[in-house]
């Protein structure tokens, strides 16, 4: 009932044309508005005179800044002034961010004053300054109510008006200012506005600043803004709105340090071409996919099968698999049991791949720009994998047994359904294999995603079949199984040693997370892992009395809860690291953009593009070996090859599109564009396990332009 009354009241207030107040105050249920003046020297030509609209919002209500953000409208003032008097624009105080669900608005809560400086010409000679104002504002809580008011004010000319001096002084204090020496420059980098700021006050250095774009219709107001301090220089990366409506040559923005009332206003020119507002649709797969044409569906099936087999050797899968093999080998005598177990496991593997493929296809058809490996672009998913691998590792070490933790009924249930158990092992194997995309899989999956759904799913099923094949063979031909070593005490040691590949995988995943969200998040996660290990050791402890056991367990739960509360902010609400961090440190490499490729090709320069991601093992291997080879880099330099790195560590629709154009859907991909302009052949794609010889062969015929720098090892290798 009170809800209904409130609603009714809202609608009554929303009726157009509020009762026109014959005075300086208009009051609604949500806001009190007053027209005020500040004239410390009285009114006269050349004197300093301000008018202002003072707004006092009811709790939780707000009005908007000059750029209101995702919704809302800025307050508008329309003046009627005597002759020889003119009003400037509103001097907007520093706004605050107002999140509304997934949207973000910029505006004001509480009390504020919107000051407007007046200019009085020499012709002005009244006994008082008679002002009329028509003001429109939109006041919102959850509900938005457009309101307006008519205001009349007579300011006496012969004496100072200072009754509101404090309010004007406060407004001045909260107005964004530009300190001398503060400068900014910006460039458009794909769908990101990259801003460099210098000369901010030293007390601001290293702090996370709030960012407000003054221009509407350019940036994604709710998007995650990345900031990196490099001494006194601040780099900010602001995502552009997917539905950007403006492409300004110069922009203005306000930065605010936490706790400061006044922000710093900066104007900057925007360098580089804005991406087209109408984003070109990637050409249909059938016309622009040289790789897909060359690779038939049958070949894709074969490659997928081979890639799946290789997955068994990946460091995160091998421990799970090898122990599975040993468990089966223990029953080598019972042929039927062995075969049934192997089939159940294989069914689990193939089904998991098919489900994963179906999920990917459904999400893509819903318009999402995703590719293979998409799971690892999500920091929460990487975090979850870290926890999973840690728990598995601790279990392999024998720190605890699941039986001791799970309710007895579950354990009994499992024992009754060993086949379900095998199938679930298959599922687990697929889950842990996800981070390790094997070579050969790139081509197969790229082809799969350009095919009709049935053929695509068949390719993924082949991948699963390949992964399951070695174990299935073992189950079907006990001769293989009999070759395996006999079970014995050595298995305990083997199981323990298998914990270490798991921990190695954890190290790598924490590094990936560090690339995605920063060092603080990685440290927070490591801290949480310590608490997790402690809890596991407590729950796995043997031979304690009932009271001691309960006591220790209570301590462990508290430690876990405290660690979670401590780690969660850094993990989930951290300012993410610069996504270019993975690409930046290597000299000679620049961030990829399709404009950079087009620009270089228009100049006749050859281009080498490394499509990579921190979570892609093969990518990192190639980056540290072949692509760091001094001779090769010197050769690139001599041939003026533009080296571009497309970092797909986090989701990036433009990179996904470019991969699709090349007929791929995952990384690594190495594309070489020969010199000689735009019309030459499409890029050549090199193999996923990149060798120096292969790259040198690919660029052998390209002309050398400048001799490489003196002392470079590669000077002699140029043919």
């Amino acid at each position: 009932m009170p809800k209904l009354l409130r609603l009714l009241a809202s609608f009554l207030c929303a009726l157009p044309g509020l009762a026109a107040a014959q005075g300086a105050v208009v009051e609604t249920a949500e806001v009190r508005a007053e027209l005020v003046a500040h004239a410390p020297q009285g009114i006269g030509p050349g004197r300093q005179v301000w008018l202002g609209l003072a707004l006092r919002h009811q709790p939780h209500w707000h009005t908007y800044w000059r750029n209101p953000g995702d919704s809302g409208l800025p307050t508008k003032l329309r003046w009627t002034l005597p002759p020889h008097v003119s009003a400037a624009e509103i001097e907007w105080p520093t706004p605050v961010r107002l999140p509304v669900g997934p949207l973000v608005n910029y505006g004001y809560v509480g009390s504020l004053l919107l000051p407007v400086p007046l200019t009085l010409g020499t012709g002005f000679a009244g006994a008082s300054l008679d002002v009329r104002l028509h003001a429109e504002w939109l006041v919102c809580k959850e509900v938005c109510i457009p309101q307006s008011g008519e205001f009349v004010l007579n300011v006496p000319a012969d004496r100072p008006s200072i009754a509101h001096a404090q309010a004007f002084a406060r407004a001045r204090e909260s107005m964004p200012h530009t300190p001398t020496g503060a400068t900014a420059s910006a460039r458009v980098d794909a769908q990101v506005l990259a801003i460099e700021v210098n000369g901010l006050p030293p007390s601001w250095h290293g702090r996370a600043l709030a960012f407000f774009a003054e221009d509407a219709g350019v940036v994604d107001h709710a998007g995650r803004i990345e900031q990196r301090w490099d001494g006194a220089r601040l780099s900010i990366r602001v995502p552009l709105s997917a539905q950007r409506s403006e492409s300004p040559a110069t922009m203005r923005a306000v930065l605010v340090a936490p706790g400061e009332r006044a922000g710093i206003a900066l104007g900057f020119a925007v360098n580089g071409a804005w991406p087209s507002i109408v984003q070109a649709t990637p050409a249909p797969a059938t016309t622009a996919l040289p790789a897909a044409d060359a690779t038939s569906w049958g070949l894709a099936l074969v490659l997928a099968f081979g890639g799946g087999m290789l997955l068994n050797l990946m460091p995160c899968v091998f421990p799970v698999l090898s122990l599975k093999v040993l468990a089966l080998a223990a029953h080598a005598g019972d042929r039927r049991w062995l075969a049934a177990g192997a089939f159940a496991y294989s069914a689990g593997v193939v089904l998991s791949f098919v489900l994963l493929a179906a999920a990917l296809l459904v999400l893509r058809s819903a318009g999402m720009q995703l590719g293979w490996g998409f799971q690892l672009q999500s920091p929460p998913f990487v975090t979850a994998l870290v926890l999973l691998f840690t728990v598995i590792g601790l279990n392999l070490l024998g720190v605890f047994e699941f039986g001791a933790v799970l309710p007895g009924r579950l354990v009994a249930h499992r024992a009754h359904h060993p086949l379900v158990d095998h199938a679930l092992t298959g599922l687990l194997a697929v889950a842990v294999a996800a981070p390790c995309t094997a070579p050969f899989m790139g081509v197969a999956i790229g082809v799969a995603l350009t095919r009709p759904a049935f053929e695509a799913i068949a390719v993924f099923a082949a991948l699963g079949a390949g992964m399951a094949a070695p174990l299935l063979a073992l189950g079907l031909w006990p001769a293989f199984a009999r070759r395996l070593p006999r079970p014995g005490a050595w298995m305990v040691h083997f199981r323990r040693s298998m914990a270490f590949p798991m921990f190695a995988t954890v190290v790598w995943l924490v590094w990936v997370l560090g690339q995605q969200v920063g060092l603080d998040a990685a440290a927070a996660l490591l801290g949480f892992l310590v608490a997790l290990a402690f809890a596991a050791s407590v729950f796995g402890a043997q031979g304690l009395g009932r009271a001691a056991r309960l006591g220790w367990r209570a301590v462990a739960v508290v430690v876990l809860a405290v660690a979670l509360a401590w780690a969660a902010p850094a993990l989930f609400w951290a300012t993410p690291a610069n996504p270019g961090a993975n690409a930046a440190p290597s000299t000679g490499w620049q961030a990829w953009s399709s404009e950079a490729v087009a620009g270089a090709r228009a100049d006749g320069r050859p281009v080498f593009v490394d499509f990579t991601a921190a979570w892609c093992v093969t990518c990192q291997y190639n980056k540290r070996t072949t692509l760091s080879d001094a001779q090769l880099l010197a050769e690139f330099d001599a041939k003026r090859v533009l080296l571009l790195r497309a970092d797909w560590t986090r989701q990036d629709a433009r990179i996904t599109q470019e991969l699709a154009r090349l007929g791929r859907s995952g990384v690594p991909v190495y594309a070489v564009f020969p010199p000689g302009g735009m019309d030459t052949a499409p890029p050549r794609l090199l193999s996923e396990i990149l060798s120096v010889a292969e790259v040198r062969e690919a660029i052998r015929d390209w002309p050398s332009h400048t001799p490489p720098a003196q002392g470079t090892a590669g000077a002699r290798t140029v043919p």
Binding site: L73, N105, P146, S245, L326, S378, P380, L388, N395
Partner: protein, 205 residues
């Protein structure tokens, strides 16, 4: 070894988690969806392949929606579009627990009193479709071409205000984009800043 299995179940859940929705972009395929209309009938965007489709985010409680309905501007634009064989889908992404949520029957009655003629009015109470399109305000308008590509995203017209008297001097961006698209011309104003009330999305989304 068998003891690891419980984790498999957990892991399957994780594989599906952590996916952020991509925002629709003009020039790209518009996100496809299936929603139910006010009678509970299923409506899919792909049902209308081969025709131009207008999407209109609507919420009767919003003064900006009222501006365009009470003045007759939105119904007139709908009629003019339908007369040219264009499909018009009104979408309501207001969360069920928002104070101005309307039940389908109430919404239908309200639309009837305004002489509104959308092809269908769709309920998106979990906000998934609204989020996929990046719809921010009511109204927020989109135009999709017969191949399913997004042609326009933004405001209904060029003057962001709550005054109905501004409508006659404003450019109706949806009408303009439709005219150009139907004449086979590129849309001259493919994006604009939508204005109006924030959409009250459900939390989970």
């Amino acid at each position: 070894m068998k003891t690891l299995i419980r984790l498999g179940v957990l892991t399957l859940g994780l594989l599906a988690a952590g996916l952020a929705l991509a925002q629709a972009a003009v020039g790209q395929p518009a996100p496809v969806f299936a929603l139910t209309d006010l009678d509970g009938k299923a409506v899919k965007l792909t049902d209308y392949r081969g025709k131009h489709v207008v999407l209109e985010w609507v919420n009767p409680g919003c003064p900006y929606v009222q501006k365009h309905y009470n003045s007759g501007n939105m119904p007139t634009t709908q009629k003019s579009a339908r007369a040219r064989d264009v499909v018009w889908l009104a979408v309501n992404s207001t969360a069920v627990d928002a104070y101005d949520y309307r039940k389908p029957a109430d919404l239908a009655a309200w639309l009837k009193t305004k002489d509104a003629v959308p092809t269908a009015t769709l309920m998106d109470v979990d906000g998934k479709v609204g989020r996929a399109y990046g719809a921010r305000t009511t109204p927020h308008m989109y135009l999709i071409d017969p191949q399913g590509k997004l042609l326009y995203s933004g405001a209904i017209d060029s003057i962001p205000s709550s005054n109905a008297s501004d409508i006659k001097s404003a450019t109706n961006y949806v009408d303009q984009a439709l005219g150009e698209a139907l004449a086979g011309k590129p849309v001259s104003k493919p994006t604009s800043q939508a204005y109006g009330c924030s959409i009250k999305y459900a939390n989970a989304g």
